[in-house]
Each structure stands twice: as C-alpha cells, then as structure tokens.
C-alpha cells in the first residue's frame, strides 16, 4: 500500500500547487514540498525491508487479458533511484522557489515537477513493462512541458520540441522492443521476465528486441548520436536542468539498462552495442564540453559524457562493472545536481553564465565558489570526493576490457575521456571562480539567500562524506542496488579510498596530468578545435523536420483537394480493392440454402425497380422527374419488406419515404431544377465502370449471404420476447427493450441531426439566392382544396398514429412509425397553409419536443435504478380497465413514447427549417403571377 502511494502521491498532489498558485509561489512550493516529503517518508518506511533483502510488491490487475497489470515492486535498484528522485526533488523544489522570478507561474511549474516526479517514480518502481512504458512516455511529456516552461522564448519551444521528438521517437522503439521481450518471456511482468534471461538471450528475436530497447534507452539517456537534444534542453529553467537533465530523467535510459541487465547482457551484441556507444559518447561529450563557454552547455555535454560512462560500464557485462555503474549513477546525480544549481546561482547573481565574462567570483561569493569548486573537483575525479571512487572503479573495469581482442582500446579511450573530463571540470571551477577578471561586474555580486545555496551545499556535503567514508554513507545502498542489478550477491568488492597502486590509479594519474596540460595549453587546444569541422545537430534536425512536414503536406494536399468526387472515388475504389482482394484470396463455393420461388408479382416489382433506377439515372438532369422515380423505388423497397415478412420495416419505410420526398422537394425550392451538362464522357464512363463493379460486388455478396445457413442470436430474442419484454412484436421489443440503449442513442443522434439542419439552414436566412427559374413554381402557393383536405386529415392522422403507437408492442407499429405519421400530418399543414400559419397554431417548439422525448426515454431508463436494476430495465403488467377490458402496460411503452416525441420533434424541425428557407424565395418567384390578395394570404 505504501508502495502504491509513493507513485500515486505526486500525481494526486500535482493538483495542490495548481490550486495554491493563487496564494503565491511560496504556497505552491510548500504544497509540492509537502507531497514529495510525504512520498519520501513512505519510501524510507520501506527501507528496512529493502535492506533486509526483501522485494516489496504492490498493485492489482488492470487489463490482465492484455498482460497490463498495475504491479509495482521495490528492490534495491528501485530504492536507489526512488531515493534520488525524491531527495533531489525536494532540494530542487526549495531551490526553484528562490531561483525562479516571482512573475513566473509557480503553480504550473510545481504541478509539472510533481507530474514528472510521479512518472519517474513509476518507471523505477514498475513491475510491468507495459506500465513502465506508460510512465516512460509521461516523463517525455513532462520534460517537454518543463523545457518549454518559458513559452515566450523561441529557443525554449524549439528545445522542447526537439527533446520530445527524439525521446518520444525512442519511446516508440522501446514499446516495440518491450512487446517483443514480453512475447519471448511469455509475460509482461518484469519479475517473470527477469527470470527468463537464458530463454530470451537464446531467442532468435533477441537481437531485434535488443536493438529496439537500446533505441529507447540511448535516446532517453542522450547517447551518441542521439545526444544532441540534451544541450538544447538547457533552454529549460535551471532547476529543471538540475532535476530532469542531470539527476533523473536522463538516467531513465541507464536505469533500464540496469534493470534489464540480467536478461539482456552477457552477449557479444550487448557488449559491442552498449559498451562501444558508451565509450564513444563518453569521449565525444567530454571533448565538446571542454570547448563550451556557457556554464549550462558545458555541464550538459559533461552529463552526456558521464551517461556514456555509465552506459559503457553496463555494457561490459561484468558484475563488478555493473556495481561501478550503479555507484556512478549515485555519485553523478549528486555532484551534477549541485553543479547545475551552482551554475544557476552564478546566473542568478551575476546575470551571465558565460565563462568568458566570469572570473574572480571566489572572493565575492565564497559559499558559491566552495560549492562549485568541490563539485567540479568531484566531477574531475579528485581523491577524497565521491567522483574519484566510481571513476577509479570505471578505469579498473576499462583496464580489463578486451575490445575485439585488443586490450588497449578501451583503457586508452577511457583515459582520454577522463583527461578531457579533468580539463573541463577544472576549467569550470578555475575560470568562473579563481581566474582574475579585468573589469568590475556591473552589479554588486554576493552569495545568494539561504534557500539558493543550502540545497547544493547539502549535496556537496554528501560528495565529501561519500568520498571519505564510502562504506558508511553509500555502501549499503550501492550493495543492495547492485545485488538487484546483478541478480546475486556480488563477489567481493570494496568501496574504499585506497586500493594500493593499481593500473586504474596509474590511468587516473595520466588523466590528471593530461588534463592539466590541456588546460595549461587551452588557447592552443581551442584553436585546434575551432579549425576542426563541427557538425551542427540543430540545422540538420530542423531540415529533417522541415522535410517530413513538407512531405506530409504534399501528401495531404494531394489527396485532400476539396473535390467530393475524388474523396468518394477513393473510398469506393478502396473498398472495392479490399473486397475483390478478399474474394480472390479465399475460395468460393455456392451456397446450399434452398431458394424461394419468385411469384410473378415480385418479378413485376423487380422490373419496376430496375426501370425506376434507370429512370433516376436517365433523368438525372431533370431533377423533379428523378425525384419522382426515387419515390417509386422507395415504395417498391417498402413493398419488398412487406412481402418478405417485415411489416414493421414496410411501415417505417413508407413513412420515411414520404418525409424524404417532401424534404427533397423543399430543397428544390432553392436548388436549380436542372443539372447543367458538362461532365466529360470519359469521366462518366469511368464512374459507370466503378459503379458497375460496386453493384456487382454488393449484389453477389448479398446473394452469397442469403443462400447460406448460419446461426445468429435471434432465437434468444424470439424466445424471451414475450416472457421478458411482455410484447409479441419481437422487432419492437428489441428496439425498446433488449436493445433500448441503442435506440436511446439513436433518438439523440436524430435530434442532433435535426438541430444541425436547423443551424445550417437558419444561418443562411439573409441569403436570397435561388436557382429556381421564375414560373417553375405553382402560381397558387396554398391551394384551397389542399388546405381543406389537410385540415380534415389532421385528426384522422393523429388517431391512426395513436393506434399504430399502442399496438406497436404486440403487432407491427410503434413509436418510430407513429412519430413519422404525426410529423407528416403536421407538415401537411405547413404545405397547405404556409409555415407561418402552421407555426402560429403549433404551441410547442420542435426542439422542445426532441428534448422532452430524450428526457422521457432517459427517465424511463433511470426509473429502473430506483428498483436497483440496471439502466433501462423494463417491466410490464396487465390491468383491467372498465369498458376497455384487460390492458397491458409495459414500462417500455413510456420509452417508446419518448422515441415518438423525439421523432416528431426532429422531423418537424428538419422540414420546417427547410420550408422556411424556401418560403421567402418561392414567394418572390411567384409574386408577379399572383394577384395581391393571394400574395397577402401567402403571408400567412
């Protein structure tokens, strides 16, 4: 429980700084500090178990079928990292409170910092690789937001984007690698994977998995050639650099190397890939760092170099090297965080981070100078400081490494890198603090407030304590962490200051001598450096991004050209390719189901349907005629439904057909009645070919479907309709009861469609264009006969609707059909009497009807909750009424009434909107032909 809380706390706590932001940055910093401190307390409460050799587990299954479990575990390695994350996090929170300008949004900063902290803790404590991947991506996102914290600075935004592109790109590779790894191991739980090392290394998929996982690790930990994002990430505020880009996030890559060390290491591929990358990174980072003048840039390249060092140590694949790697992770985090904070103090107090403009600060700010000098000395590997110890162990491991059978390659390169490391470390300390400066600083420079120097000072104290008493202050921590990495107690090693005169000591002395000479002859070295070709990462990266963007734009613009015909053509042709491909790919047998005989009437209907389809095509240019033909097609389809045992569908189809034709007629009061000629013959032929293939495919598929026997779940509905739903009309019971939730969604969709029609058409009220030629419309807009008949028909239609509605549960009918009938009856009044006339007599707005219908349906569904049943559970009963006799009442009837109201409202709204837009134009078109009295009547 405590373990889960450690990860959850920062995420939940991230809300607090955001909420407290109004109370000032002190409050939000305090909230973030409190959350981190609480998490640290919880972690320390688990320390006895971890040091006792126990592995603490927590969590629960999340999506077990996918192998994704929210399992956490805490072993020595996880403990070391969690401790670093939380302790340095606390120091950074304090430091940031005093470092960031008061005008910056502190709430956002601390909230993001906590989010990052939670994600990072999630990585180091996950016992499931899929869960780990989620946290991994979260750290990339948090890093992106924190690098871009100063949104107004272009370099912040560009640096953030570059970091995200590189690390998230690596994250994608990592996902693939982890999936392969889990596939080989048969589980995504790390505890299981860690025990399947032999099987994984023997698998043919080992190499792809390794390459992909290393892709993730190397990008995250800024290994050559992916290192270029880290210096650009220095656009982040210094506390962020100190936390994410030196101590924690960039360590996620090497953490994963350590975590998977028992599984992946020990092969040649691992050694050459990991150790070589680390070695090259170490040297490249160190050389570049020496020639950077900007303090943070120098530190960034030095971080790259040290991450390379750790990577190389894990790459050696020997337990002793792994111990050295773990130890150096700890040491580097401590001295590098201190150095970043130190650089931040200099920047804060002096206003510059450029070594060429600094100097002589030791006299002005002694505390800061002490911090900087001690931490830099540790980075250089000066004895009595913690950096010395792990560097000795590194040189020791390097001295024993054989690269392609050559024993001199690794020690030579490692010593060279160490030499440059000595040089840049000493340069940092000497040029900033000790070399005399010629001109005076513009403002008075002195040591900062306690809140700024205390956090790095605490870290520097650790540097010295671990350096002098390694066994006491780092021993147990490193031992348990190393045990977790190596998987077994490591054979005797000794965290001690003096190991006697060893090869490592000799290499160390060489490094110091070389570093000293480099610094002494710095001017010459720099001239050489400047003369050498220097590949710039940023222009290359920008060019690559621009090229990708350009390519995407070309593809998008090429496909998305604004022509509906092209879109539909692509979609239809694509569907055809898939369908035909599938058909050709599989075998085919004729269906075995007996077919029904076709009576003459069906053949006549078929002929009529084909003739009318041909008619729609032939009279496509004369729109009114085409519409009439379409109506006939719809009626034949309805007839087909009726003949083929689907009375409900036939009723609905007829009603919808009427409404659809009215709708299109209304549209023709605005749209031109004739389609101008103008498509090329070739294009028409192409379209016809596409259409023919589509029709052939659809028809053949339908025939194949109809001539086969297969079971569906329909028998369930047929059996349970009467006993469970209380209705004999199974289709209606399915709609309002079994699948009531679908219907509920459907009436909402219909309501939204109606509102969309209203919005589309109503927004065009001011526009008066019309494509209808004068004289095309009837002179008498509202013929008297029609008006009278429509008014007489209204009550009759309503009675029919009521009848259809109530019989719906047991016989063909129901809310949909009844709603359509009422809507048609009402729209007839619009047609006959004019929209204005009808609207004045309708006392309910159509949108209100839609809303009432949806609400009624929802209330019926919710009523089931009162009886502790799931949403939309229905019930029914039989009641005896005087005169009428036995009446069945089902709660589904109320639901159906909701459907009814929504359908009436939606159809009315659609038709009335279109009628209104057509009305003004029709009047104007008709005006000359109508006597004044008729025109006035039309105003109704």
């Amino acid at each position: 429980m405590a373990l889960a809380l450690i990860v959850i706390l920062p995420f939940a706590g991230a809300l607090l700084p955001a909420l407290f932001a109004r109370l000032g940055r002190g409050a939000s910093a305090l909230a973030a500090f409190g959350v981190s401190a609480l998490a640290l307390g919880l972690l320390l409460s688990l320390a006895p178990q971890v040091f006792g050799g126990e592995v603490v587990h927590a969590g629960r299954p999340w999506l077990p079928r996918l192998g994704l479990n929210a399992h956490l575990f805490l072993d020595g390695l996880g403990f070391l990292f969690a401790l670093l994350i939380l302790v340095i996090g606390l120091l950074v929170i304090v430091y940031a409170r005093f470092h960031l300008p008061a005008r910056d949004p502190g709430g956002r900063f601390h909230a993001l910092l906590l989010l990052f902290q939670g994600a990072m803790l999630g990585i180091v404590l996950s016992d499931n690789v899929l869960l780990l991947l989620v946290f991994w991506e979260l750290t990339s996102l948090a890093s992106f937001l924190l690098i871009g914290y100063w949104r107004h600075l272009p370099e912040s935004r560009q640096g953030a984007r570059m970091a995200l592109t590189v690390t998230a790109g690596g994250g994608l590779a990592l996902i693939a690698g982890m999936l392969i790894l889990g596939d080989i191991a048969g589980s995504y739980d790390l505890t299981v994977i860690l025990q399947r090392g032999d099987a994984i290394r023997a698998s043919p998929q080992y190499l792809p998995a390794l390459l992909l996982i290393l892709g993730g690790c190397f990008t995250k930990s800024a290994q050559f050639p992916f290192h270029f994002w880290l210096p650009h990430a220095m656009a982040a505020p210094t506390p962020v650099s100190a936390y994410l880009h030196s101590a924690t996030m960039v360590k996620a890559g090497v953490f994963l190397l350590a975590r998977l060390w028992p599984v992946l290491s020990g092969t040649d591929a691992w050694f050459y890939l990991v150790a070589t990358t680390g070695l090259v990174t170490m040297l490249v980072g160190a050389v570049v760092a020496l020639f950077r003048d900007e303090l943070k840039a120098l530190l960034a390249y030095s971080t790259v170099s040290h991450l390379g060092l750790v990577t190389m140590l894990f790459g050696f694949g020997t337990p002793l090297a792994a111990v050295a790697g773990v130890f150096h992770i700890l040491n580097h985090a401590i001295f590098k965080a201190a150095l970043f904070m130190n650089a931040g103090i200099v920047d804060h107090e002096v206003g510059s981070r450029d070594l060429r403009h600094l100097g002589g600060l030791a006299a002005l700010m002694p505390l800061t100078a002490t911090i900087g000098a001690v931490a830099a000395a540790s980075m250089a590997g000066v004895p009595l400081l913690n950096g010395f110890l792990s560097k000795e162990m590194m040189l020791d491991a390097a001295a024993q490494a054989q690269w392609a059978g050559q024993g001199w390659v690794v020690p030579l390169v490692a010593t060279l890198a160490a030499m440059f490391s000595v040089a840049y470390s000493l340069r940092y300390a000497a040029q900033a603090f000790f070399v005399r400066r010629h001109e005076a600083y513009r403002k008075k420079v002195r040591d900062p407030a306690l809140g700024l120097w205390l956090p790095p000072m605490l870290l520097v104290a650790l540097v010295v304590l671990i350096g002098v008493f390694p066994g006491t202050f780092a021993g147990p921590l490193v031992t348990t962490a190393a045990k977790a990495v190596v998987g077994a107690p490591v054979r005797s090693y000794d965290l001690a200051l003096w190991h006697g005169v060893t090869p490592a000591l000799a290499l160390s002395v060489f490094a110091f001598a070389g570093g000293g000479i480099l610094l002494w002859r710095y001017a010459d070295a720099r001239r050489l450096w400047l003369a050498a070709p220097q590949p710039q990462a940023k222009p290359a990266f920008d060019a690559a991004v621009a090229a990708v963007t350009e390519f995407c734009r070309a593809v998008t613009d090429g496909l998305h050209d604004g022509s509906l015909r092209h879109y539909l053509g692509w979609i239809i042709a694509g569907a055809l390719v898939v369908g035909v491909g599938g058909f050709l790919g599989g075998g085919h047998e004729a269906g075995t189901r007996a077919t029904l005989a076709a009576p003459p009437v069906a053949i006549v209907a078929w002929l009529l349907l084909v003739a009318c389809c041909a008619g729609v095509l032939a009279f496509e240019r004369r729109r009114m005629l085409a519409l009439v033909m379409l109506g006939v097609v719809g009626l034949i389809v309805a007839f087909g439904f009726l003949y083929l045992s689907a009375p409900d569908l036939a009723l609905t189809q007829i009603a919808v057909e009427v409404v659809t034709v009215i709708l299109m007629l209304l549209a023709l009061t605005v749209l031109p009645h004739e389609t101008p000629r103008g498509t090329r013959r070739l294009r028409r032929l192409g379209d016809a070919a596409l259409a023919a293939v589509a029709g052939l495919g659809a028809g053949a598929a339908a025939f194949a479907l109809m001539t086969r026997d297969f079971d569906s779940l329909s028998s369930y509905y047929l059996e349970r309709s009467l006993p469970d739903g209380g209705g004999a009309n199974v289709v209606n019971v399915i709609l309002v009861d079994f699948r009531g939730f679908d219907t509920f969604g459907e009436i909402i969709v219909l309501g939204i469609a109606a509102l969309a029609v209203f919005a589309l058409v109503d927004g065009a009220r001011g526009l008066t264009r019309t494509g209808v030629a004068p004289g095309m419309l009837a002179a008498d807009l509202h013929p008297l006969l029609l008006a009278v008949v429509a008014r007489v028909m209204l009550p009759l239609a309503l009675v029919v609707a009521a009848y259809v509605f109530f019989r719906g549960h047991n016989a063909p009918g129901g809310g949909f059909v009844a709603g359509l009938i009422v809507a048609i009856a009402l729209i007839m009044q619009h047609v006959a009497g004019g929209t204005g006339w009808a609207v004045r007599r309708m006392h309910v707005d159509a949108p209100v009807l839609i809303g009432a219908g949806v609400l009624l349906a929802a209330t019926t569904g919710l009523a089931a909750w009162v009886f502790a049943r799931p949403f939309l559970t229905s019930t029914y009963g039989h009641f005896a009424l005087p005169l009428v006799g036995a009446v069945e009442v089902a709660s589904a009837t109320a639901f159906d009434a909701g459907v009814f109201l929504a359908v009436v409202g939606a159809v009315m709204l659609m038709l009335a909107s279109l009628a209104r837009v057509g009305r003004g134009r029709a009047k104007r078109a008709a005006a000359p032909a109508v006597p004044p009295t008729a025109a006035r009547r039309a105003e109704d």
Partner: protein, 116 residues
C-alpha cells in the same frame, strides 16, 4: 426470389455509386438515398428471406429473423437523418456560393469549371 433481391441490391448500389460521383449536390443526395436503400436491403437480407413469417409471436409457428429487422428499422431512421443533413448542407452551400457544385472551391468540378 433471392436472385431478385440480390440483383436489386446490385442495381441500387450501382445507381447510387454513379450518382454520388456526380459533380453537383442534388444528384449526390439522390445517390445517397439509393445507396441507403441498398444498404438497408443488404442488412435485411442477412436475416435470409422468408414469406409470411413475420416475427410477431403467435400461438404456433416459425418466424423470420427479427434482429436484422430491428437493425434496419434503426438504419432507415438514421439514414433519413443523414439525408436531411446532406440536403441542408446542399441548400446552405448553394445559398452561400450560388453554385451547387461539390468540387474544389465550390466549383462543380475542375473538369467542367472552365465550361461555365
């Protein structure tokens, strides 16, 4: 009978596809209507055909498959909603541009844009 229904679906589909590929909004709307007939019939056909066996529970007897019917009933109503929105878009776009083309930039299509 099956052959008649299947060929009707084919004819409806072909006519619908041809019409939606036209360059003006009204034929496209007609085409969509024809296509929805075809799709509804296709869904309905997945329950196989039966004569005089409506899925209304009686004292005795067998029934046709009710599930495709319920699906199609929903589909009929939804396709009406879709047709209505398409019609409204056609009307609005005509009112805005004075042209009922559905090609690039409101023109009927690039091919016949030059002819008008």
């Amino acid at each position: 009978m099956e052959l008649l229904v299947a060929s009707a679906i084919g004819v409806l589909t072909a006519s619908g596809v041809y019409l939606v590929l036209r360059g003006r909004s009204f034929p496209v709307v007609l085409g969509l209507a024809l296509l929805s007939y075809a799709v509804n019939l296709f869904l309905f056909a997945s329950g196989r055909l039966a004569v005089d066996l409506p899925p209304v529970i009686r004292a005795a007897g067998s029934y046709t498959d009710p599930l495709p019917q319920a699906l199609v009933l929903t589909a009929i109503v939804i396709s009406f909603g879709m047709t209505a929105v398409t019609v409204a878009m056609a009307v609005r776009s005509f009112l805005e541009s004075g042209d009922d083309g559905v090609g690039a930039a409101g023109a009927a299509d690039e091919e016949d844009a030059g002819r008008r």
